[in-house]
């Protein structure tokens, strides 16, 4: 039960933190867009066809399932739930494979 609680608390903290960051960045992006400052501040750096702020927001959203998968793999391995750990590892492998495809 304690291991379960630890996994839940860790997952909760990570999702909450990233979600707060995403919402804050999105609100910042909207404020900058409305005040026409985004172009001056962020458009000079472009990644995958997006400005830095949009890229960071999307990257963080994508990081929510990735980071909780990593936590689950670590915690399942520690608690000897090998089937769950391997299954989650396979899921993470698939996600990273898709990310690699985008980068390449």
């Amino acid at each position: 039960m304690n291991e379960n609680n630890k996994l839940e608390n860790l997952t909760l903290t990570v999702i909450k933190t990233i979600l707060i960051l995403v919402i804050s960045l999105t609100i910042t992006s909207v404020i900058l867009e409305v005040s026409f400052s985004q172009g001056i501040l962020f458009d000079s750096i472009e990644i995958s066809g997006m400005n830095l702020l949009d890229f960071t927001t999307i990257f963080l959203i994508f990081m929510i399932p990735v980071s909780r998968s990593i936590i689950m793999i670590i915690e399942f391995s520690k608690s000897d739930n090998q089937i769950n750990a391997v299954s989650e590892l396979a899921v993470l492998g698939i996600i990273l494979g898709l990310v690699t495809r985008i980068i390449i």
Partner: protein, 279 residues
């Protein structure tokens, strides 16, 4: 992006977030038809941004479910493998399918979901899985009865294989897939309905991520729409979960079943390109 369009998309996502949260849906079920019917957006682009909305909605609702100790993470890790595989198949299939056919498929699936939702409401389906037993006992805290409920998960292999189907629909149509994952867990694996909904909500994060990555790679996610969708869905879901208790769910579900059936028919008609007197 035009400010007026931003406000329209924000409002639509906000409503999708509230309805999704009130009815236990991902939000994509409202977002995709709204973007295609109201904003004349190509269905592939609507599905692409819907994945982002579903991902945000799933993360937001998972916070509540995990906090209430209702999410079965072990079960989720097993089913996710099948769901992710299905989501890849679904997303790549969606990219190959003509938008009219995709619209018709969306309409049919939406029709099925709304009829199923209405049927469940009529049956007033109560949880009958609290008594299922195996060697591997698990538990969750039921806030409504203030007690710890013990349950067991059976037929894990079958569940994993069937979750591929849920994943296919999630990847194909930009929905969460909860309409399929929940019955698989509840009816086949004998998981209590509350745990099934919480676990499905948690899993949807991964299936929508996979769909989003594939659509993003193929240029079907309009980055300009991401901000209003994130804000709308997030705040809509937060408000939906807060007003949830004070609303008569039976009346609400009845109304939305009718609305969803109307949307389903519109999507089918659009897909089949039938000219109907300005429906």
């Amino acid at each position: 992006m035009d400010i007026l369009l931003f406000v329209y998309i924000l409002s639509t996502s906000f409503i999708a977030g509230i309805i999704g949260s009130l009815l236990g849906l991902g939000g994509g079920i409202i977002l995709v038809p709204a973007l295609t019917i109201l904003f004349d957006m190509p269905i592939h682009e609507a599905i692409g941004v819907s994945f982002i909305g579903v991902l945000v909605n799933s993360s937001s609702s998972s916070l509540v479910y995990i906090k209430n100790r209702m999410t079965d993470m072990r079960l989720s890790s097993i089913l996710e493998l099948g769901a992710v595989t299905g989501s890849i198949i679904g997303a790549y299939t969606a990219l190959l399918i003509d938008s009219n056919i995709l619209s018709a498929i969306f309409g049919i699936v939406l029709g099925y979901i709304s009829i199923d939702m209405y049927r469940k409401l009529k049956k007033n389906s109560e949880d009958n899985n609290k008594e299922s037993r195996s060697d591997d006992e698990r538990e969750y805290y039921d806030e409504s009865t203030n007690e710890i409920i013990t349950y067991s998960v059976i037929r894990e292999k079958e569940g994993t294989v069937l979750s591929v189907i849920g994943g296919i629909f999630a990847g194909l149509l930009g929905l969460g897939g909860g309409a399929i994952f929940v019955p698989i867990m509840n009816r086949i694996m004998k998981v209590p309905i509350k745990v099934a909904i919480a676990t499905s909500s948690f899993m949807i994060g991964v299936t929508s991520l996979v769909g989003a990555l594939i659509f993003f790679n193929n240029g079907f996610i309009d980055v300009a729409l991401v901000s209003p969708i994130i804000l709308g869905i997030f705040f809509g879901a937060q408000i939906g979960s807060r007003i949830n208790k004070g609303i008569d769910k039976q009346i609400l579900t009845n109304i939305f079943c009718l609305v969803l059936i109307y949307i389903a028919l519109r999507m089918i008609i659009n897909g089949l390109e039938i000219e109907v007197l300005n429906l």
